[in-house]
């Protein structure tokens, strides 16, 4: 499994610089594509416009700080009607808006220029990391999910368990608050596209499995039958019933007389049966009472 070894070594400083944006930053396309995924949890895209100056194309993209969004007040359900409790984040607490200009020069070269509009953040980058996980980390989680690893395994590897300073690297990359649920959510798209074959649904694989199971059980002397049923949601559920005929006879007994405690103890010690006082026939006789 890959870990976070591909994270740029100076990512903490770069993230902080892109967060503060005290002065405009010029980036190449490669740098922009490498670093922006690590700070996209801080900003949310607001609008884009494109202009042309001579033969150069300027693509302006404006981003708001995620805490810039106003508090959402429109709700369809009141709090007590909701199945799950929700927390509402107080909005409009950070005024930061940034501008990214993608300049495509006439000679074919492309560059990025990023600058901040207005005052600086009212919070630190850790608070942004708490609110949202960046797409670089989500990308790592999604890639590992696509390899079939379990979320718990992935989060362990991302946190660098067993590696020196693994957790510190993760925090530098904005993953201080990365949880297993985040990993699970990141892998959701892949899991939807590649559903688990073990989840029950009408598929030929189950039919093959059940036939094989019935054959094996019948060879061992069991009675085995496949079953299916629609549940209350209309979903198909399947199953397999199997039992040994000798054991099924136990179910059809019409009551039995429990042995007195001292006899039961003797039987458990095999003393009772050893003297032939309690044979199988007698047991059945007792059982049929």
């Amino acid at each position: 499994m890959t870990t976070l070894l591909t994270i740029p070594a100076n990512i903490a400083a770069i993230r902080q610089r892109l967060f503060d944006l005290d002065e405009p930053i010029d980036l190449t396309v490669a740098e922009f594509e490498l670093y922006m995924p690590y700070v996209d949890n801080v900003y949310a895209k607001h609008r884009t416009r494109t202009t042309r100056n001579g033969n150069s194309i300027y693509e302006y993209t404006y981003y708001d700080c995620v805490l810039h969004r106003p508090t959402r007040t429109t709700t369809k359900l009141s709090t007590d009607q909701r199945a799950a409790k929700r927390t509402k984040r107080l909005g409009s607490t950070c005024p930061v808006r940034i501008k990214s200009i993608r300049i495509q020069y006439s000679n074919g070269e492309t560059a990025y220029q990023i600058s901040r509009l207005g005052p600086s953040h009212t919070h630190d980058i850790t608070e942004s990391d708490l609110i949202r996980r960046n797409s670089a980390l989500r990308g790592v989680a999604a890639t590992e999910s696509s390899k079939g690893y379990a979320p718990a395994t992935i989060i362990g590897a991302i946190r660098g368990i067993g590696q020196d300073g693994g957790r510190a690297i993760l925090e530098d990359a904005g993953g201080r608050y990365l949880t297993r649920q985040d990993v699970k959510n990141a892998g959701h798209a892949w899991r939807t596209a590649n559903p688990d074959v073990r989840i029950a649904k009408p598929n030929p694989q189950w039919q093959e499995l059940v036939l094989e199971a019935i054959e094996t059980l019948e060879k061992a002397g069991y009675e085995a039958i496949s079953i299916d049923s629609l549940d209350q949601n209309g979903d198909l559920a399947m199953g397999l019933v199997f039992a040994h005929p000798a054991r099924l006879q136990v179910l059809t007994r019409r009551g039995w007389s429990p042995l007195p405690l001292f006899l039961r103890s003797l039987t458990l010690l095999r003393l009772f049966d050893a003297h032939g006082l309690h044979t199988q026939n007698e047991r059945l006789k007792v059982a049929s009472v």
Binding site: I225, M238, G239, L268
Partner: protein
Amino acid sequence: MDSTHKTNVLKWPLYSLMVRDEQANWCPAAHVLTSNESSEILAAGLRRIKQLCHNSWNLRYILTDDSAAEQRAVKLAFRGLIDGETEVSHLLCRVHSERTLDRNLKGKEYEVRDGNG
């Protein structure tokens, strides 16, 4: 009757029906492997076990944990007088009974404390 997890590669629950014999030993009598824990599929399994017993399985008592699906499945499979059968009494296991009593009835001042408190 109770279900066990992690018994198979499919990760489906495996229900086992245990019967106590006169030696007070619990014997596994039948098993139902189901794709989920819905009461409908379990009821279908119980009905099929009844058929395997040539409809001579006259259930009188059943003991399960506090699972609503299992309790409903028994009601669906053994309808009692409607089908001309004995009414089934459903028993809950002691652990779950105590847990339910604790949850619903216990007051703070009546909590059992260790020692002389």
